[in-house]
Amino acid sequence: MALKKKKTLSGGSVLKVKASVAPLNFGTQWQYVEALEGSDHVKIEPKYGLFIDGKFVEPHSKKYFDTINPANEKVLSKIAEADAHDVNLAVEAARRSYDNVWSKMSGKERGKYLFRIARIMQERARELAVVETLDGGKPIRESKSVDIPLAAAHFFYYAGWADKLEYAFSGRSPRPLGVAAQVIPWNFPLLMAAWKIAPALATGNTVVLKPAETTPLTALKLAEIFQEADLPPGVVNIITGFGATGAELVSHKGVNKVAFTGSTEVGKKINRAILGTDKRITLELGGKSAHLIFEDASIDQAVEGIVNGIFFNQGHVCCAGSRLLVQESVEKIVLRKLFDRMQTLAVGDPMDKNTDIGAINSHEQMKKIEGYIASGKTEGAKLFQTSCRLPSKGFWAKPTVLSEVAQSFRVVQEEIFGPVLTVQSFRTVEEGIEKANNTPYGLAGGVWTDKGSKIFSVSSHLRAGVVWANTYNKFDPTSPFGGYKESGMGREGGISGLLPYVQF
């Protein structure tokens, strides 16, 4: 027979899903055996005091609490609980060192201390990574490749600013504020300590830092590093404890500056606690960031971006891309690819170098995540979870997608802070932007499209402090980070990160 070549356009994208095609088989033929990071070289003391005025001291109350490994619930160490008396000692130590030493020191010398700290952190990077993973449950791969190097880089970056501050504020002469009270969360313990301490010290302030009660160890290791670096006593004081300790600290009258990273709820409480004072405040709070995938995106990279956006650090990320908004024309293929991709995520022992998703940070957080998943199901969401097996001990959550959700669902509106993604579709650019901005939060957003002009348009319409275009969850010490609206005020990182710690 004579077959004519048809000149018809076949139309549409090659990205189509035939309904009858079986999912990919990520079977068990070849499994990666456990590749545990060695921890023999790491020493965790059985007990840690409070780091005040350059020394580890017993808490006034003599009370200690356990810090556990969330992957197996074993106690790692006993941690001092600071009360009002200890807070006072720490603030006084910070004040003395501010008045007598740190505010008088030249920027050049201050900078050299920070450089020295950065260097020691790099030398002890592996130890810090192991401790971070043991204490917090995050995969060792992430501690090693993200948390610790970035924390050191932060000190390195702000070290360089210490003697160049006049160039950061044209027409102004910056002066330090005094004593900074800093309260940090458990999701990136050492990195958040670095975000807080490095700019404060570079600008000539002294610090009292309170790490989260579930993840105090790397901050205490950092205290050891300060000792090793001969940082003058009292320049940084690290006090451990629960919310009550943090409340004492931020409301102490000797404090000039409060910096907090954590939930919006607590951020508002802190704001209330300092009402009527002259304390300056920066807040880095919650988020419910939208991740927009347009039909002209590089779809496979976008899927990877979605995975980075929500499953990085078990979703314990304030800027997690937790609301996926997909243009309807590619929704099917994106979900198909996402589900297949999720099957390859290794959930398990955080110390295994092959683990992609580690332990949930605490029992409390695990319960909260489970509650949200249940709520999503009740409200009518379609649930997808990977077929991974979870360990029996410790706190875990399966990578989860809730699709077919509506804007009104609790899981769409509230921050879950876990590996749970909601999926909504949109049809036009305007609808996508409207849905993305339909939240009291404004921390971050993601946009995937191959069209340059669309990127600029969409990213400028997103009411959020960080926009990742064709990428997600990237961090750098030179890059300012912080939220619009109820996601916080002030920026951390970059030249903008100096402003919260100076006056003119």
Partner: protein, 288 residues
């Protein structure tokens, strides 16, 4: 009432109204307060703006924000310069009004001049503050990364009592030149300058709703302004005899984490623009 300089002719008195959404409505509440000159003569019946007027003004400001925030810096600069031109053309009227309200002639002349110059000053900043306060951040990965200021949104302004005109201009110019829209409570001691300034704005190509002027009393409106959930920032020009204002504003602002600025002076500088800006950082991969 005043302005009956020529005894042969009965003067035409001006009704001082609010300026909301590019219109000059009376307060919906129908209330007014009498403004008296030093000699006791009644200068005007001034609208006593209500909470509802503030709410309407916020609605207008929110609507106007969508467009105003996306205008080019060049155009915003042009419009603010146009405001200066309009004010220059009416300097006599403003001077007289200040004098009527009790300012000495010399001071009134100086205040109007400084107000005009302030507008010119901030008009010139429109396309420069983003350059001063933006950055290309040299991140350690294959990404192009930049940070730039974007307007915070709707800003409530509690303008200073005195100087009523200069204070007003110093407060709103940095807010609107940065692309925000404003809801302003003008001076209650000298409300006429603020209200008349609305006429200047109205004839200066400034889009409706970008600046909304309400006359009235702080005691009544401060909470409404500070607690409104669709207001993104609040500028409080502090009054020495009203020390409680800043706590009220700060407390009410917490619920939606409004940005709060408390000014103890009315100095003009670009950092005052930045108080109503958010830094947005954008990342994009670099690869072919």
């Amino acid at each position: 009432m005043s302005r009956q300089e020529n005894s042969d002719r009965l003067g035409v008195l001006k009704t001082y109204k609010l300026y909301i959404d590019g219109k000059f409505p009376r307060t919906e509440s129908g209330r007014y307060f009498k403004l008296k000159a030093a000699d006791g003569k009644i200068l005007a019946n001034v609208c006593q703006g209500s909470r509802k007027d503030v709410r309407d003004a916020v609605t207008a400001a929110r609507t106007a924000f969508a467009k105003w925030s996306r205008q080019t810096a060049y155009l915003r600069g042009q419009i603010l310069y146009r405001v200066a031109e309009m004010l220059e053309g009416r300097r006599l009227q403003f001077t007289e009004e200040l004098v009527e309200q009790g300012v000495t002639r010399d001071k009134a002349i100086a205040e109007v001049s400084e107000s005009i110059d302030t507008l010119v000053y901030y008009a010139g900043w429109s396309d420069k503050y983003p350059q001063i306060f933006s950055a290309v951040n040299p991140v350690a990965s294959s990404h192009f990364n930049f940070s730039m200021p974007e307007p915070t949104g709707v800003v409530c302004v509690l303008a200073p009592e005195l100087p009523s005109l200069l204070g007003l201009v110093r407060a709103i110019a940095p807010v609107i030149i940065g692309g925000n829209t404003a809801v302003v409570l003008v001076s209650s001691k000298q409300p006429l300058s603020g209200i008349t300034f609305g006429e200047v704005l109205h004839t200066s190509d400034l889009p409706s709703g970008v600046v909304n002027l309400v006359s009235g009393f702080r005691d009544e409106l401060i909470k409404t302004m500070a607690s409104h959930m669709d207001v993104n920032a609040i500028l409080l020009c502090a009054e020495k005899d009203r020390v409680g204002d800043s706590v009220v504003v700060q407390e009410q602002a917490i619920e939606n984490l409004k940005r709060v600025s408390v000014w103890k002076d009315i100095e003009a500088n670009p950092y005052r623009i930045m108080e109503f800006q958010e830094i947005k950082t954008t990342w994009h991969p670099v690869g072919a």
